[in-house]
């Protein structure tokens, strides 16, 4: 099984996003929430994409969500599932669905957060089907 693991590209971390990846290394998924307009956004930015306030703050996500859409990449050397997961906090993130039977993936299924090691970078947040 280990030989068939997909190599996960390391995210190119920058000063704006270092807290996100430092938290990932501790098993936490952070989102940005704007103190001015109260909206969560994703992917995280220094300035809120809704109201342009610079009062954006890191908040820990619950790690629970549902699958908004997905596709199993059948033509890859090691097939994998890409998805948008709609998080409880109201934003959707691009991710992978892992550690499950790909044929069991459905839109609307509940998923929970896991982390997978990247190739020389911090661990990356992904999701698996909730029981």
């Amino acid at each position: 099984m280990a030989a068939k693991e997909r190599i996960i590209a390391a995210p190119p971390v920058n000063p704006e996003t270092k807290p996100f990846w430092d938290a990932a290394a501790e098993g936490k998924l952070l989102l940005k929430k704007c103190a001015a307009c109260g909206e969560f956004h994703y992917y995280p930015r220094a300035i809120c994409p809704f109201c342009f306030s610079d009062r954006t703050e890191w908040r820990a996500a619950s790690g629970r969500g549902t699958i908004y859409s997905y596709s199993v990449m059948r033509r890859a050397t090691v097939p994998y599932a890409i998805a948008y997961v709609a998080l409880e906090e109201g934003v959707a993130m691009l991710t992978n669905i892992v550690d499950c039977d790909f044929d069991a993936i459905r839109i609307g299924r509940k998923v929970s957060l896991v982390f997978k090691p990247s190739d020389g970078g911090p661990p990356v947040p992904m999701f698996t089907l909730s029981p």
Partner: protein
């Protein structure tokens, strides 16, 4: 201010090659430029505006203007991926309307096939400084699975089926059989499409466009220039452009930027979708066409599946003839950028120069639409409405 009637497409050229192992990228740009100028009946020295996008080698217009030996007073390098050239037509009209140039040359070329590029199934590197890359690249998004997620959601939300999507490829193949330059000329059936190998659920191999080398060019001119030439008059009467993305996490994959670019173009032209006799719709994948037709208002949202089914897009029998050259699905997708050939076939239809088997009778109003980037993340939509005068 409007661009309606301020510019005409006087010259078009689609490179006949589909595999350019023996040519350079700059050479392809030059060959299509030469072809379009000859089609218009103009010379290189008439060109005073030049437009190119990210496919142009080197420092874009600076490298190409040098190589081509142009002397221009206006340059535009708007880059929105495969929709760049539909946007260039509109921007050329704006430049002409404001007196910045009179004869604009737009070129596209690429050789992904000669270079062995896995266009749809390998990750593309846009550079780590792109703000989205670190939050996406680890998950291996590629062109095919990003568009596939749009199809998956459309099926879930509206009941669209693989068989309905397949009809789009079937219609394109009916047209491509008459195009001697088309990469794929074999007529296919719905069964052929749904039985072809799965690439990224729910998109099969035959839901995906071809990978080809080549290119194309357009000459956009001021009205007085157009009238001095011997070619049929093809006038730009409306244009719209719009970006769409993940909207800060409020992701909605069920519609494209065409919901904004289409109404802008129709409002400027003063016509409605029901007036369009022929439509060139960017067809990177079958789902791209289906969503675009809904978003442009050719049918109700969510009803695209039944609209495209049963041959409704086939010239001669269907209500909305589309991509009569065979489109990106069968004919050509030079440089992985399909909107150039969309404009070219629309001009052929308006001139009455499409293949006789697919020529739309009395084709006086046509639409060309481009979708660049990815429907699944961020893309640029651009709509042109053209009229034969």
């Amino acid at each position: 201010m409007t661009i309606k009637g301020k510019a005409y497409i006087a010259g078009v050229y689609e490179h006949p090659t589909r595999l350019a192992a023996d040519k350079s990228l700059a050479q392809l740009h030059a060959e299509v430029a030469k072809g379009a100028l000859e089609d218009a009946g103009l010379s290189k020295d008439d060109v005073d505006g030049y437009f190119c996008a990210g496919d142009a080698p080197g420092l874009g217009p600076l490298s190409m203007i040098d190589y081509l030996g142009l002397k221009v007073r206006h340059m535009d390098t708007t880059e929105t991926g495969g929709s760049s050239y539909t946007i260039h037509v509109a921007h050329a009209a704006e430049a002409i309307a404001t007196g910045k140039c009179r004869v604009a040359l737009i070129t596209l070329a690429g050789r992904p096939r000669a270079e062995g590029m896995a266009t749809g199934t390998a990750p593309r590197n846009y550079g780590g400084a792109a703000p989205d890359v670190q939050f996406e690249a680890p998950y291996a998004p590629v062109v095919a699975n990003l568009y596939a997620m749009c199809a998956m959601r459309h099926m879930y939300q509206y009941g669209t089926t693989s068989e309905q999507l397949a009809w789009i490829k079937v219609a394109a193949s009916h047209h491509a059989q008459h195009n001697t330059h088309a990469l794929l000329r074999e007529v296919v059936t719905v069964e052929d499409v749904v039985n072809s190998p799965m690439i990224a659920d729910p998109l099969h191999r035959l839901d995906c466009c071809v990978i080809t080398d080549g290119g194309g060019a357009l000459i956009v001119v001021a009205p007085e220039v157009a009238r001095s030439l011997k070619r049929p008059l093809v006038k730009l009467i409306g244009a719209g452009e719009a970006p769409k993305n993940q909207m800060g996490g409020k992701v909605d994959l069920t519609y494209s930027g065409a919901v904004w670019s289409g109404p802008r173009a129709f409002a400027e032209s003063g016509i409605t979708p029901a007036d369009i006799k022929y439509a060139s719709i960017y067809d990177s994948f079958t789902i791209t066409v289906l969503m675009t037709l809904e978003d442009l208002g050719f049918c109700e949202k969510g009803k695209g599946g039944s609209f495209v089914a049963d041959g409704n897009l086939i010239s001669g029998s269907g209500k909305l003839p589309f991509n009569t050259d065979g489109g990106g699905l069968c004919n050509n997708h030079p440089g992985n950028r399909g909107s150039m050939t969309k404009v070219i076939e629309a001009v052929r239809q308006l001139r009455g120069e499409a293949h006789p088997k697919v020529q739309v009778p009395n084709c006086d109003l046509a639409l060309a639409h481009g979708t660049g980037g990815s429907l699944g993340t961020r893309h640029g939509s651009a709509t042109l409405i053209l009229e034969r005068e």
